[in-house]
């Protein structure tokens, strides 16, 4: 989802760069004030951790594999301001060393992946934490946060590409959101699984470790942000025309992208639910169903992982 150079025009690149610079500056200042000196190395190591964690492959059916993006996990484990700093560092290294994501598009990539995603996801996470108490609630909230963060990033990305005139909004948003419904699902599940491992082995490390305000003080804004993000993910994301015919045929004919395969394999491919006449209503309904499905998956996983102690031993015996 890293935007390469050449996809954004100058006005979009400059605007997004300015927005990111301000947001990164604010979060670095927040971090500088709240971060104890002995935690500074932790932020650097956390950036290296996110980078290494992105290289761990999670097998998906059909020989493909997904990986963690880590934004939501960083926000849950370190707090939102630290997550922004960590992801900015990761994106800078990816840009300068891997040429992954363009130099002029760096501002846009930081805005999508490093700022909008983690902040929106974190707001959803806090909101759901309040609604669902307990450890299980926290796991479900983290999964939903990871899912929202991914889709929010995709929405931002589609918006920037449309603003640049490179890819029309309806095509971009449909394609991006379709692909990222799956990627976001994986992100949510992996975030939940990793968080549950950390909560089991070192519960003391599973909270914001930076001494950063976790949003208790500004409860209202965080909760409002959560509601806004959820509304965006639920209603704006699917509020796009169904895949235009021309594009669909282009993708199907060329068939060289595994993204296209993903798309074909999507359970709700094309976002159409039979029985609903208006395509817009159908896509919105599909978005709601997708979100509900993610919630159920998160809840079931959190339940089974909650009863880990007895289950783990039995499983080990089976494996032997």
């Amino acid at each position: 989802m890293h935007i390469p150079d050449g996809f954004l025009d100058t006005k979009t690149a400059v605007t997004t760069a300015a927005l990111s610079a301000v947001a990164v500056g604010v979060s670095l200042r927040t971090l500088k004030r709240s971060l104890p000196r002995r935690r500074v190395p932790l932020i650097g190591l956390a950036a290296a951790f996110v980078f290494a964690a992105q290289m761990v492959n999670f097998p998906v059916v059909g020989g493909t594999s997904g990986h963690l993006t880590g934004g939501m996990l960083a926000a849950v484990l370190l707090g939102p301001a630290a997550a922004i700093a960590v992801l900015t560092a990761v994106l800078l290294v990816q840009c300068f060393l891997f040429a992954d994501g363009g130099l002029l598009a760096l501002g846009a990539n930081i805005l999508n992946i490093g700022i909008a995603g983690p902040l929106g996801g974190y707001a959803v996470y806090r909101l759901l934490c309040r609604l669902l108490p307990g450890e299980r609630g926290r796991l479900v909230a983290a999964a939903m946060g990871g899912w929202s963060a991914t889709i929010l990033s995709a929405l931002f990305c589609a918006g920037e590409l449309a603003w640049s005139g490179t890819i029309p909004w309806d095509v971009g948003v449909t394609a991006m959101v379709n692909v990222h419904l799956l990627i976001g699902g994986a992100e949510g599940v992996i975030t939940l699984l990793v968080l549950s491992v950390i909560m089991r082995t070192r519960p003391d490390l599973a909270g914001p470790a930076t001494g950063e305000a976790t949003g208790e003080g500004m409860g209202f804004f965080v909760l409002a942000g959560g509601v806004v993000t959820l509304c965006l993910v639920l209603f704006v994301a699917p509020f796009s025309s169904p895949m235009p015919d021309g594009l669909e045929s282009v993708v199907m004919q060329l068939g060289i992208l595994d993204r296209a395969e993903h798309y074909g394999a999507a359970p709700m491919a094309g976002y159409m639910i039979p029985g609903l006449d208006s395509p817009v209503a159908a896509t919105a309904a599909a978005g709601v169903v997708g979100t509900a499905l993610m919630f159920v998956v998160g809840y079931v996983l959190a339940r089974t992982l909650g009863e880990e102690k007895g289950g783990e031993k039995r499983d080990e015996r089976e494996e032997r």
């Binding site: 002995r38 190395p41 650097g44 190591l45 963690l68 040429a99 490179t166 699984l193 070192r202 594009l247």
Partner: protein, 202 residues
């Protein structure tokens, strides 16, 4: 450690490597800005840029195969994006423009990464008054990312050699690797802090 593939040729020694890092970063930025900002250049211009980059790569003794491999690795994103640009009037010219521009910028960044050490790029950034906390984070990250990748590979190998199952449950075990990697990173951060303090970091 067998994976310093990221910027394999950055430590080379050639006329290009010896140019001041600030100059190289500035010219890379200039090439990217000009390529992106100007809507349409005559093909001759792009041809000239490509030729110039070939000369730089040859002078820096970066093998052509390496450059092409790096370019190919990143093609899926560019080609995928360009495909979606087809879905509008005059889509073909937009797609072609995007393809050419992206690849030129990509090659520029690959050249920069492989002729300039990351630490000297950070020096330039800090001389430009980039926030000191960000520079600290970036240097620590670059210092430890190789170690953590190594550690991840060791953990994955240990897991593979001890278990024989595949499929549904493997996600949980893979998540176990990531979770423990985080715990170990936090513990390593504590040792790093102790070491830094012992050496007079303030």
């Amino acid at each position: 450690m067998k994976h310093n593939f990221i910027d394999r040729y950055a430590r080379g020694d050639s006329a290009i490597h010896r140019i001041a890092p600030g100059v190289k970063m500035g010219s890379a930025l200039a090439v990217v800005v000009i390529t992106v900002a100007v809507p349409e250049w005559p093909m001759v211009f792009y041809g000239g840029l490509v030729a110039a980059m070939c000369v730089v790569a040859a002078m820096a003794r970066i093998p052509a195969g390496f450059m092409l491999r790096r370019l190919l690795t990143l093609q899926p994103f560019i080609v995928g994006g360009a495909l979606f640009a087809l879905a509008q009037p005059e889509g073909w010219s937009m797609a072609a423009r995007v393809l050419v521009k992206s690849n030129i910028c990509l090659a520029t960044m690959i050249l920069l990464a492989n002729t300039t050490r990351f630490s000297s790029m950070l020096d330039v950034l800090s001389r430009l008054h980039a926030p000191s906390l960000l520079i600290t984070i970036l240097s620590l990250m670059y210092r430890y990312v190789f170690l953590l990748i190594d550690q991840t590979e060791r953990m994955a190998r240990a897991r593979r050699s001890r278990m024989f199952i595949r499929g549904r449950r493997s996600w949980r075990h893979t998540a176990g690797i990531v979770g423990h990697l985080f715990v170990r990173s936090v513990e390593r951060a504590e040792r790093v802090y102790a070491a830094m303090t012992a050496r007079g970091w303030r």
